[in-house]
Subunit: 343 residues, 2 copies
DNA sequence: GATTCGTGGGACGCAAAAAGTTCCACGTGG
DNA sequence: CCACGTGGAACTTTTTGCGTCCCACGAATC
C-alpha cells in the first residue's frame, strides 16, 4: 500500500494535488450540505470557476448530487469519502511533517522524502537526488559560489545525481580528509561534484588524527593547504551529511579514551568533524583544518542531508548545535525527530 | 491494494491514462535502449511532441537518462518499472478485458466496471449508472427514439441514475408484465425511465402465463394492447437485463414440467422472455406480447446490462443467442465469460 | 403575494498551456 | 567524408482552463 503511494508520487506526482482537492471538496460538502457553489468556493479558497470544474466532475462520477438548494454527497460519495480519508492522510502526512519540523526546529526549508533510508536503499538515493536539485537551483543564479561539502554515502548519492554548468563555482571539502573509504571522503565528493557541475575544485590534504602541533605547523608552512583553507573559510554554501557519533568515532578510529569521553558527554551526532549531544551542545571537534563551528554564521546557506530512523537523534543534535537553512531527510527520520523534539 | 486502485479510478480517472502512458514509454525504452525520440514515438504511436513532454518529465524525475545515442532507463527507472508492472496490469486488466470480450463475442462495445456485483451491491449501481450514461448519449442526438426496456434490478439501477430531457422519446416495455415485484417490472421501469428522461411512455398490460388462445384473442380484440405492441415492434433501442434461467423460471412460477424441460435443454440465461442455452440456441420463449427474437435484427442498438460472476453463463448464452451491440457488465462476469468462451 | 436571496446552469472571451511542425547542430557509423 | 538519426529549440496553431457575467428558478422572508 505504501509502495503504491510512493510509486504514484514518483510517476504521476500531479495527481496528488488533484486528489487532495477533490477530497477536500467532498469532505466540505459532506459537512455543510446542502451548499452552493459560491459558498463552497469561498470556504475552500478556490475560485468559483475552478471549483465548478471539479464539482461537475464529481457530479458526473455520481459522488455529488445537486438539488435546488445546493449540492450534497451521494451514498456512494460518502463511501468514497470514508475510504479516501486514510489515503489522503498518507499522502498529506509528508507535507504536514515538513511544516511541523520546519517550525519546531526553526529550519527555513525542510524537504522530506517518503520512506526510510535504513530500510530501502532507494530512499537515500532519492534524498541525494533531491538535494542535488536544490543545490543546482541555488547555484544557477549566475553568481560566483564557493561550495563546501562533507563526505558520506548520502553526499555521494547527491554528487552522483548532480548535473549543471557552473564554471564560476568552486567546490571544496569542508574539512580535512577522513581515512578509509576514498569514495566517501569529502575530497572525493568535492571532486566528483565539481566535475558533474563543470565547476573547479580545490582539495585539502590534511590527515586526520594529527597532533595539534603538527596541524599548526602544516597550516603555517604549507602554503597550498593555507590557500585552500582560506577559500573554505569564504564558502557561502555548505552541504553536509550527518553521521551517528558512535559510528563516526569508530570509523575515524578515535582513541578508546576519547570514545569513552564522547559517550560520557552524550555525543550522538557528527557533522563535518563536530560531535554534538542531543541538547545541541558541541562535545568535541576533530583536530583538523577547515570549517569551524564559528565559521557557520558567515555561510549563506547550510544544507543538511541525512535520512533513516536510526539517524534521527544524530540529525537532531547537529541541527540544534549549528544553524540549518535547508534539511533534506526522509519520512522515518522526520517522524522520529518530531517525536524526540516534543519529548 | 485493489481498493486503492478502484478508489483512484473513481476519484482521479484521468491519472490512469497518464500513468499507463509513462509506463509504456519506460518499458519501451528499457527494451530498445538506446533509442531516440522519433523512433520511440513511432513505436508507441504517439506524436513526437506529446512523447517529448512525457520523456522530459521522466528525465526530470531521474527515471530516464539521455546520451548522444538516445535515451535509456536509469537504475531507479528500472526499479520503478518493475514495481509499476503489477500496478499497471491491474489498472489495465479491465481495458484489456473489454477488448478481449469485444473481439471474442463480436460485440461492438463492451464496458466493464471493476468489481463483482455478487459481492458488492455498489457495483450493480455502477453498472446502472454507466448504462444510463450510455443511453443518455444515444438519445441526445435530437432524433425521435423508441426505447424498449426489460425489468430487473440492474435495469432499475439504470433508471434511477438517468437524467435528461428527451421529449421526443417514447419508452415502452419490451414484453408484457412479469408478476411479483412491481418495482422491477418492465412496465414500471419504462415509466420511471420516461419520467427521468422527460419522455413519454406506453405500458403493456398483458399477464404472464396466459394460454396462446387467450393471448391471441387479446392481441386481436384489445386495440390498446395492439397499438402498444405496434410501437414496441418499431423500437430502435433495446435495453435489457439478463437473468439466470433457473431464477427466472422460479420467479415466473413456471410449471414444474416446463422447468424440467428447460433444464433438460440446458437453458442457463434469460432475457426479455427468451430462455437460452450456453451454446446460443433459443430453448423457450414465454408466451407473451412484445419483442420476439426475429424482431431484434431490425432494432438499431441492443444494450445488455448485467453483472456478477454467477450470471456469467447466463449473459454469455443471451449474447450468443441474440445480437448485442453494447454490453455493460462487471469485471467478475467478464473474466468468467472470457474463460467460458475460451473453453 | 411580492421580493430578495442563493441556487445551478449556461455563455462569452481572453490567456496560457499543449501539441503540431520545422529546423539545426552534432555525434555516430558506414 | 557523408548520410543518418539524434537531442535541442524555435515557431505556429489548437485546445483548454479559467475569469466573468448573466439568467431562470425555487425557497424563504417580509
Amino acid at each position: 500500500m505504501d509502495s503504491i503511494i510512493n510509486l504514484q508520487k514518483k510517476i504521476v506526482p500531479e495527481l496528488t494535488d488533484l486528489l487532495v482537492q477533490r477530497y477536500q471538496i467532498l469532505r466540505q460538502v459532506s459537512h455543510e450540505s446542502p451548499i452552493g457553489r459560491r459558498a463552497l468556493a469561498g470556504k475552500l479558497g478556490l475560485s468559483e470557476r475552478v471549483l465548478r470544474a471539479q464539482v461537475d466532475f464529481l457530479k458526473k462520477s455520481g459522488l455529488l448530487a445537486f438539488s435546488t438548494s445546493g449540492m450534497s454527497v451521494t451514498d456512494e460519495g460518502a463511501d468514497i469519502l470514508k475510504e479516501l480519508a486514510d489515503y489522503v492522510r498518507k499522502l498529506q502526512d509528508i507535507s504536514f511533517l515538513e511544516k511541523a519540523l520546519s517550525e519546531t526546529l526553526q529550519i527555513g526549508r525542510v524537504v522530506i522524502l517518503p520512506g526510510d533510508s535504513d530500510q530501502e536503499e532507494v530512499v537515500k538515493r532519492e534524498i541525494g537526488r533531491t538535494a542535488a536539485h536544490i543545490l543546482s537551483k541555488l547555484l544557477s543564479d549566475g553568481q560566483r559560489h564557493i561550495v563546501a561539502v562533507s563526505g558520506g554515502t548520502t553526499m555521494a548519492a547527491m554528487a552522483a545525481n548532480l548535473t549543471g554548468s557552473e564554471p564560476n563555482t568552486v567546490v571544496v571539502p569542508a574539512r580535512g580528509g577522513l581515512g578509509d573509504n576514498v569514495e566517501l571522503q569529502a575530497n572525493t565528493i568535492a571532486t566528483v561534484l565539481a566535475q558533474k557541475l563543470g565547476a573547479s575544485y580545490r582539495q585539502l590534504y590534511v590527515p586526520d588524527c594529527v597532533s595539534e602541533d603538527i596541524l599548526n605547523s602544516i597550516l603555517k608552512e604549507d602554503v597550498g593547504v593555507r590557500s585552500v583553507v582560506d577559500i573554505i573559510k569564504k564558502a557561502d554554501i555548505l552541504v553536509h551529511g550527518v553521521g551517528r557519533a558512535s559510528d563516526m568515532a569508530r570509523h575515524r578510529r578515535l582513541a578508546p579514551e576519547l570514545i569513552a569521553k564522547l559517550e560520557e558527554k552524550g555525543a550522538v551526532g557528527e557533522a563535518f568533524g563536530q560531535y554534538c549531544a542531543l541538547d545541541g551542545t558541541q562535545v568535541y571537534m576533530t583536530n583538523n583544518a577547515g570549517l569551524m563551528l564559528q565559521d557557520l554564521q558567515h555561510i549563506g546557506t547550510i544544507i543538511g542531508i541525512a535520512g533513516g530512523k536510526s539517524k534521527a537523534a544524530a540529525i537532531l543534535s547537529v541541527i540544534r548545535a549549528s544553524r540549518q537553512d535547508i534539511l533534506v531527510t526522509d519520512e522515518a527520520a522526520a517522524q522520529e525527530m518530531l517525536r524526540m523534539a516534543k519529548a
